[in-house]
């Protein structure tokens, strides 16, 4: 009987052939699809392009090293427009048409909140840099990982810093915002750990132009530190009022409120001594230094550092699982980012160790990348600065 090649045999042969081919050939197979949803336009527009580039850098490195689980990574990018409506349409395209297993780099909290249900319903992993506490409180069943510290962590770090500065009696002047109350509660809970106490809080209407009486209320409580929990325009007025009132005690505000713009618009004697704090990339990390080279800047923004880590975490989780679904990433992301494994800061190094059957603990440009069960990071470095002569000087990064 002549040996005839039937269509069935041919199909079976073709199906099996990738398993017999060497890794490089297999990397040419159907790629692993990952999505990016960074803000290329809108309020987040200044950050989006660098965030995307930081993601692409990781994917290029992985593909040059032969891919993950024998496959190349294909990146599908969409623009969130910093707009929840546009982001939902873009996410639908990424999930339904491009069939990505993870979406990385959502920036605005409103965007992340809008996109998150699409992700967990479709079992797609969502990596975000949004900070609102409410995001990880969504019923996401583990499909959200956030590299940005939430406001609870930020205020806890502030309390620790204030304690180190010897602050005993803190007063908060806070703009009327959704986070004012949470921040107060966290500071009230944390300060006693460092020997201090929260005296009280005045919530002001940030659209007023005069805050003399609010400042008087704060000073009557006889604090030694005042926390200005507002935005640049109102914090400008408050700093001026505090100076006029003869305040010589400590003052602290978020770094997005006391920034160079504010320092340029006020006389130096008004701002001297004011502290700021903000989440910081891990400046000493080799991953951060590589990102500096990749982006061609000495000072990559925190969001680019985080998306750089998003791509690394996704690639390593896929390698650990040997599968490239959203579920596989969800199940394995903590296995490669925390625990007793060998510490790695570079994705290809991690892939090699995983291929050798070793355990790893990834830490990237944004920090340790250790996550709670709800998807928040456990900790990250913070940068504390102090205004002196209309410039901010770094006090410490820890």
């Amino acid at each position: 009987m002549p040996n005839r090649l039937t269509r069935r045999a041919l199909a079976a042969g073709l199906a099996l052939s990738p398993l017999l081919a060497p890794a490089v050939v297999r990397a040419q197979a159907e790629p692993i699809r990952l999505g990016t949803l960074t803000p290329l336009t809108g309020a987040g527009g200044p950050y989006g392009p660098a965030m995307r580039k930081a993601l692409e850098g990781v994917v290029e490195a992985v593909n040059s090293a032969g891919g993950v689980a024998g496959r190349r990574i294909q990146l599908y990018g969409e623009d969130s427009q910093t707009n929840p409506d546009a982001a939902v349409r873009a996410a639908r395209k990424l999930i339904d048409v491009d069939r990505v297993s993870a979406i990385m780099g959502t920036w605005a909290s409103a965007v992340t909140t809008a996109v998150a249900p699409l992700c967990w319903e479709s079992r797609t992993m969502l990596f975000t840099v949004s900070g609102a506490d409410s995001i990880t409180q969504l019923p996401h069943r583990g499909y959200i990982i956030r590299t940005q510290p939430n406001s609870t962590l930020q205020i806890s770090k502030l309390a620790e810093f204030l304690g180190a500065q010897g602050a005993k009696r803190i007063f908060i002047l806070a703009a009327q915002t959704p986070f004012a109350l949470t921040n107060r509660q966290v500071l009230e809970r944390e300060m006693p750990k460092y020997g201090g106490q929260l005296l009280d809080q005045v919530i002001y209407d940030k659209d007023k132009t005069v805050f003399r009486s609010e400042v008087d209320q704060a000073l009557r409580a006889r604090p030694d530190f005042i926390f200005l929990n507002g935005y640049t325009p109102d914090v400008t007025i408050l700093l001026r009022e505090l100076y006029r009132a003869g305040w010589t005690g400590g003052k602290v505000a978020p770094a997005y409120a006391i920034n160079q713009r504010l320092l340029d618009s006020l006389p130096a004697e008004v701002t001297n001594g004011a502290f700021t704090w903000a989440p910081s990339p891990d400046l000493e990390s080799p991953a951060f230094k590589r990102l500096q080279t990749l982006l061609g800047t000495q000072d990559p923004d925190p969001y680019s550092c985080q998306t750089n880590d998003h791509a690394s975490l996704a690639a390593l989780a896929i390698a650990k699982a040997g599968a490239w679904t959203g579920d596989a990433i969800r199940e394995n992301v903590r296995k490669i980012s925390q625990g007793d494994g060998e510490r790695v800061t570079e994705v290809t190094e991690g892939l090699k160790l995983l291929a050798a059957g070793r355990e790893i603990n990834y830490a990237g440009a944004s920090g340790a990348c250790d996550f709670t069960d709800t998807g928040d990071i456990l900790t990250c470095p913070f940068r504390y600065e102090q205004a002196e002569g209309a410039k901010l000087k770094t006090v410490r990064v820890s």
């Binding site: 002001y204 209320q217 325009p233 006029r244």
Partner: protein, 300 residues
């Protein structure tokens, strides 16, 4: 409780008076335009901002002292107010006697947003401050309470009072001022007497927006300026004009004092975040008992 009240009261009243004197200028500008043109010109928000920026350019870019800068803060919005009214709002007002003022008022809202964005386009979103030193407050011991008053605030209040006095003198004693009052009181009668209502209308826009501009700069002197400076103050300005009696210039001063002091005194019983509501509660209370405002709508 009583001791606490006595201790805080003088300071709150002083703070309220200072706020009131500064708010009075834009409120007068708004109400003077209403008195003559009979429509609410909502471009006061952007013209206050424009005054603040015009003063900033004069003070910081050209190094002029405060008083000449205030003159610039008067002139630039005054001209802009005149041009806007002449080419945008007047044609709309004339479309129909019944709906014209409403159309002009709505167009003024659109215009103020457009002007605000022109300012944003030229100067950007950044905060800017005047080139002025910041002084520590003077402190007075009253025996039962400490009072603090800022030199800058006293200067601002004094400037505001001088400008108001000049305006009242102009309206009371000059021929042009009397013409303006005549048109505001009864346009028909004024026209029979040969007063050119067109000229008076232009003058009202010019002076009104000029005063709004000076008010904007005075607000900026005490704080910092950005493209939303005028917008932030405008609700209180409207409240002051309405409480005093829309169309009444002394009413605008009284209204500004009532709203200014009322907002400060409210801190005795309310959280600071509710301060803006006080202006509107004042409108509600005053209009319930005096539907035409505290001083009615007599222009002067």
């Amino acid at each position: 409780m009583l001791a606490h009240l006595i201790e805080e009261l003088p300071q709150l009243i002083v703070n309220g008076l200072v706020v009131g004197t500064i708010l009075a200028l834009p409120a007068i500008g708004f109400t003077a335009i209403y008195a003559v043109l009979r429509f609410p010109n909502f471009t006061v928000a952007s013209h206050a901002t424009m005054g603040a920026y015009a003063g900033f350019v004069a003070n910081v870019w050209f190094g002029l002292p405060v008083l000449p800068s205030l003159a610039v803060a008067f002139i630039v919005p005054a001209i802009s107010g005149l041009v806007c009214d002449e080419y945008v709002l007047k044609p709309l007002r004339r479309t129909s006697a019944a709906t014209g003022p409403m159309a002009a008022a709505i167009a003024a809202v659109a215009l103020t947003i457009a002007l605000e964005n022109v300012i944003r386009f030229v100067f950007g979103n950044d905060l800017r401050g005047y080139d002025l030193p910041v002084y520590r407050d003077w402190r007075f011991d009253l025996g039962f309470a400490f009072l603090r008053v800022g030199p800058q605030q006293v200067e601002n209040a004094a400037i505001s009072v001088v400008v108001m006095a000049a305006l009242f003198t102009f309206l009371a004693f000059t021929r042009t001022g009397k013409m303006m009052r005549a048109v505001a009181d009864n346009p028909m009668l004024a026209s029979i007497k040969g007063i050119n209502a067109e000229t008076v209308a232009r003058l009202a826009s010019l002076i009104g927006m000029g005063l709004v501009g000076v008010g904007g700069m005075l607000l900026g002197l005490d704080t910092s300026i950005d493209p939303l400076t005028g917008f932030r103050a405008v609700l209180t300005v409207f409240a002051a004009a309405v409480v005093g009696g829309l169309g009444s210039i002394p009413g605008a001063v009284v209204g500004a004092m009532v709203v200014g002091i009322g907002e400060e005194l409210s801190l005795l019983v309310l959280d600071a975040s509710y301060r803006t509501a006080v202006g509107f509660v004042a409108i509600l209370v005053v209009l319930t008992f005096r539907p035409r405002g505290i001083l009615g709508e007599r222009a002067y």
